[in-house]
Symmetry: C2
Subunit: 436 residues, 2 copies
């Protein structure tokens, strides 16, 4: 079936869907772009029939230009994965609509070619970021490595914002010996809106991709104004607001740099990898059966058994405060201790982080934490819970030996953990006092 | 057995423990204060024998004074529940040690009696806050109501900081028609340390308890300095750092007031309940089988079935971004949609919040959220995930009718939800731009 063809798809369970047939990253799956602009995947063995509806739709509604080569500019590749930055409102339906052709991006923001030569625009899939899974992380990492090792000076990855910080952490671990900048970039408002951040974020991401900072970063608005973007280290960033353009914030680390749309880059954090000519080493081995679990008052500790019984090999706990779980509660059925004990005894790696988000675990101040530490729980210092989750998946892809896992978890592989924190790494940084 | 008696406790499973016998909130349980200063509870039917070890220990090692009555001062009650604020390092063992007698607090901070008459100091239990469960919330609420309805002008609740914001939310819903201030207060550093916040926080909490703000608040350091505390609304606050003294931050709302240890109160947020003479109505009906579940890339949606199969009636999801869950992922086994659909079909209430913490859910912008909304998922607007969890427990204690639950969840009962957000309610409030 030809891509771009409108079809009606009949499922074995009786349901039917109409949409445009688009490329799938997966041989067992067929993807339709529905009329509301969203994509939906179908397993081939659930499909009864596919009926072509009309002539092939012309997807390129704009003149696709050849790249412009300007003397002295670096060459970058763009890997389009979906999200608001690749969308605009379809005024016929009112729904959000994704670009059908990734080159539409260059048509929307021709200024990109004043900053870099756009070597390549690739589009392995176009999905909302809440639908991204570790399999897509691997796919993206593979393409990034291929582009960098075949001559691109940097990579830009337009991505949905919801889980962009999980993807940035995953790429940080999968791209070993990185010698070039990799920018994940998104938009909180689609490009047809007057207040869209898509334009400035793409400009700043492209500037970042030509810089000397050889790190995976999230490049997004720095403040509510359109003055500058921050490049946040990929393992130290979190989406902290549902809708603000400055939703992404560095956590327990300073942003790497301030990037002005004029082209100026101000280094904020001198602790970063410099650009070099080495090849990036692609290492995408991950073990997927890892869970992230939050404790809270009244929480059911049998959730640990649920994962143990399903064959999970790693569990990251979002504990309270310094990294605590209920262990001496007055109500025995609410104590997590025996369940964590069982998991550890069965060889499952249990890591502890804090749901306070900011700060550092400490397993020595209070007896609850000491008891968990003595069991073999690995306290992940100042690592974000989400990053510890991604990292444990990657580490378990390489070894299941407890001592090796512990050693790797507590060794910085991509700036995700460090021994000392700075005063200005908290929310209130730069504030003498809030004005209220 | 007499409280204060040192005992050796033999369990049926062969283990034994030594400690001091202290009051238990629960008839089926016996509590020992271990030699490291921590409490541990034992179910009576697991105990084989209790052997008295020596003469009763004298717990009051300081002169217990009678309350001082000063003309014109308001009268407050203190309900001690445990935590760092009631602890100091035992220099013999190096461990953290909880006060054995709650009146030790007055000995440590006699200045409290310059601010208010201390009517009563009660100590239903002394536990680290990670061990607090909804049963303890009920116990605290009962005592608060009794104290307020028998003449106290305000209540102060020293509490561990880890889960203080969950308790403050629970009390906010359980204390209906509140006409007096209720201050939860903690310390990030124990009172024997030079940088302890215990002293100033207790002073400010006592000032708050004599104020005209009839709300449950968390009173903690406002900034890194010792200049002032904030009173954060009990349903709008979260511990955001593992160890900083200004770890507690108002989320999606302004703090209610700034409180200076000199006694000055500056109202920050005019939207608060005023002190009145009415009786507080105690309403502690909760349904405990409610879960808080986070989605993330690769997350296992069968976690929903785990709770449904265990008879849970409510599930609060910490979604991504505007309140999304994986619904159209390329890997069918990772889609949460069919599992949420099943839960809703079986009559379980499913609520959606955002793991961004700041901001507001929106079920209309993207199709993934619209699909969940159409199923009957309740999007909790600007309510914190932790607060939605506590509230859903309280709401399900009163009705299981879907329309009634939805209506109550989306109606402000204690300032936990509001229709419009303010610019200055985000992290960056008061900042033109961070200094870095």
């Amino acid at each position: 079936m030809e891509y771009g063809r409108k079809v009606r798809l009949l499922l074995r369970d009786g349901r039917s869907f109409e949409g445009t047939f688009i490329p799938s990253p997966n041989e067992d799956t067929i993807i339709l772009k529905l009329n509301n602009g969203y994509n939906i995947g179908f397993q081939k063995d659930h499909i009864k029939d596919i009926i072509p509806l009309e002539e092939k739709v012309e997807v390129a509604k704009f003149p696709r230009r050849k790249p412009i080569y300007r003397e002295g500019l670096k060459g970058v590749s763009i890997i389009v994965t979906g999200g608001t930055i690749m969308s605009r409102v379809d005024y016929r339906t009112g729904g959000v609509h994704m670009f059908l052709d990734p080159y539409e991006l260059l048509y929307e923001i021709p200024e990109l070619e004043d900053i870099a030569v756009i070597n390549n625009i690739l589009n392995p899939f176009s999905i909302a970021s809440e639908d991204i899974t570790p399999k897509e992380w691997v796919k993206i990492a593979e393409i990034v490595a291929k582009e960098l090792n075949s001559g691109s000076d940097g990579v830009i990855i337009p991505h949905g914002t919801d889980t962009m910080h999980y993807t940035s952490a995953a790429l940080s671990f999968m791209l070993r010996d990185l010698g070039k900048p990799v920018a994940l970039v998104g938009a909180q408002r689609s490009s047809d809106r007057g207040s869209s951040d898509a334009f400035m974020n793409m400009i700043c991401a492209t500037i970042y991709a030509t810089s000397n900072i050889a790190e995976v970063s999230v490049v997004m608005h720095g403040y509510i104004s359109d003055e500058f973007c921050y490049a946040h280290r990929g393992t130290r960033v979190r989406k902290m607001h549902t809708e603000r353009r400055d939703a992404f914030q560095s956590i327990n680390d300073l942003p790497l740099a301030k990037i002005y749309p004029s082209g100026k880059i101000e280094i904020v954090n001198k602790n970063y990898r410099r650009r070099n000519d080495g090849e990036v080493l692609l290492d995408t081995k991950i073990y997927e059966k890892v869970a992230l679990v939050k404790v809270y008052p009244g929480s059911d500790p049998e959730i640990i058994d649920f994962f143990v019984d399903k064959g999970y090999k790693g569990i990251v706990i979002e504990g309270t405060g310094f990294g605590h779980a209920p262990t001496e509660t007055l109500h025995r059925e609410k104590s997590w201790f025996p369940h964590i004990e069982r998991a550890v005894e069965e060889g499952i790696i249990v890591c502890m982080t804090s749901q306070t988000i900011f700060g550092r675990t400490n397993s020595f101040v209070y007896s609850n934490a000491r008891r968990l530490y003595n069991l073999g729980v690995i306290h992940c210092e100042d690592m974000l819970p989400e990053v510890a989750y991604v990292k444990l998946m990657w580490v378990l892809g390489h070894t299941e030996n407890y001592e090796e896992v512990k050693n790797l978890m507590l060794t910085p592989l991509a700036g995700e953990i460090k021994p000392r924190s700075l005063e200005e790494e908290f929310i209130n940084s730069g504030l003498k006092e809030k004005y209220y």
